[in-house]
Symmetry: C2
Subunit: 197 residues, 2 copies
């Protein structure tokens, strides 16, 4: 049986993270049932984004302009840089609506076993930003994984002398989290960093 | 903040079944990171499918031709029609590779509370197929839900006199299923329809 347009659509949808073969089929059926309301607009949105979206030349955030909306926003604090692994982490911090400084997207973490070294991440660019500007604090918001911590440690050494203050995110109990379901490491960190009410 | 091309892409992706806002963001990021390998091909697959895919004029299956590949396949048994609710059910039966007859896609089930009556489903077309051909058996493969059973019952009454044999799928323990996790109805049906080994 030859591969039809439907099969090809399912194959392409199955490449999206979060969609397996089964949900790709469901998605394809739902799209075919809504060709004008969903299918063509999605195709257009994909093409437009493929044409226009690029990484910000300063921080690595994704936007449709050469310099992203965050880097050009004068209401944000340019003396504060938050270093994140991926653009998704930047989006998550923006959703929390508690941070108003600038960002720096590394593009991953150091992973020697996978062949990812300092040259594969935007670390030189970060050091250059710290050197050539008046940045007062750099927040290392990498993941609390072994690789994330190693990366933060390496970056903090590289930044030494170029910025007054280097910080990392606090560990503790997630808001809404139940103690019974937390791992020992988180509980220990929460207990260690306890503070008076 | 104005809606960017990225936001629009995420909004469109979030309309797919199985993708919530979070996974739509992940999918959008993965697409933007692979513009030429995944993003543009997906846009092309969507446009091609929107242009070419239509419902088969005989059975309602989706294909790129006026009459679908199953209805035109001479190796399949045209005297046998399997009635399914949706094209997805047809695909599931095809994947099981145990059925070689034709199909009839209803387009849903009778649901008076939602205003879906017999005229909203392809029931007249099914009766016409039974009347005007030599079909020997019609299998009512609707879901084992209340609505599905009601629909099957209604259709069997409508077909009476036009076809020699009307059948429904067997109930029983799913292959690989553990008795402990099965509902009472399934267990009762499996016990009632037991057979000698």
């Amino acid at each position: 049986m030859p591969i039809t347009d439907i099969d090809r659509l399912i194959q392409m949808l199955a490449k999206l993270p979060g969609l397996g073969p089964r949900s790709a089929r469901r998605a394809a059926l739902s799209l075919i049932n809504n060709p004008d309301a969903v299918m063509r607009p999605l195709a257009l949105a994909l093409t437009t984004a493929a044409d226009n979206v690029k990484a910000c030349s300063i921080c690595g955030n994704l936007d449709t302009t050469e310099t992203c909306a965050i880097c050009t926003d004068t209401r944000r604090d340019g003396l504060l840089i938050c270093v994140v692994e991926q653009v998704g982490d930047l989006w998550a911090l923006e959703r929390s609506a508690t941070y108003s400084g600038h960002y720096h997207v590394l593009g991953g973490v150091l992973a020697p076993l996978d062949g990812i070294g300092p040259d594969d991440l935007a670390i030189d660019a970060l050091v250059a930003r710290a050197k050539n500007s008046d940045v007062t604090e750099i927040i290392l918001a990498t993941s609390a994984t072994v690789d994330g911590r190693t990366t933060a440690h390496y970056i903090s050494e590289r930044l030494e002398g170029f910025v007054a203050k280097i910080t990392v995110l606090a560990h503790g109990i997630p808001v809404g989290g139940e103690l019974d379901y937390l791992d020992d490491g988180t509980l220990a960190a929460a207990l260690r960093d306890r503070h008076t009410v």
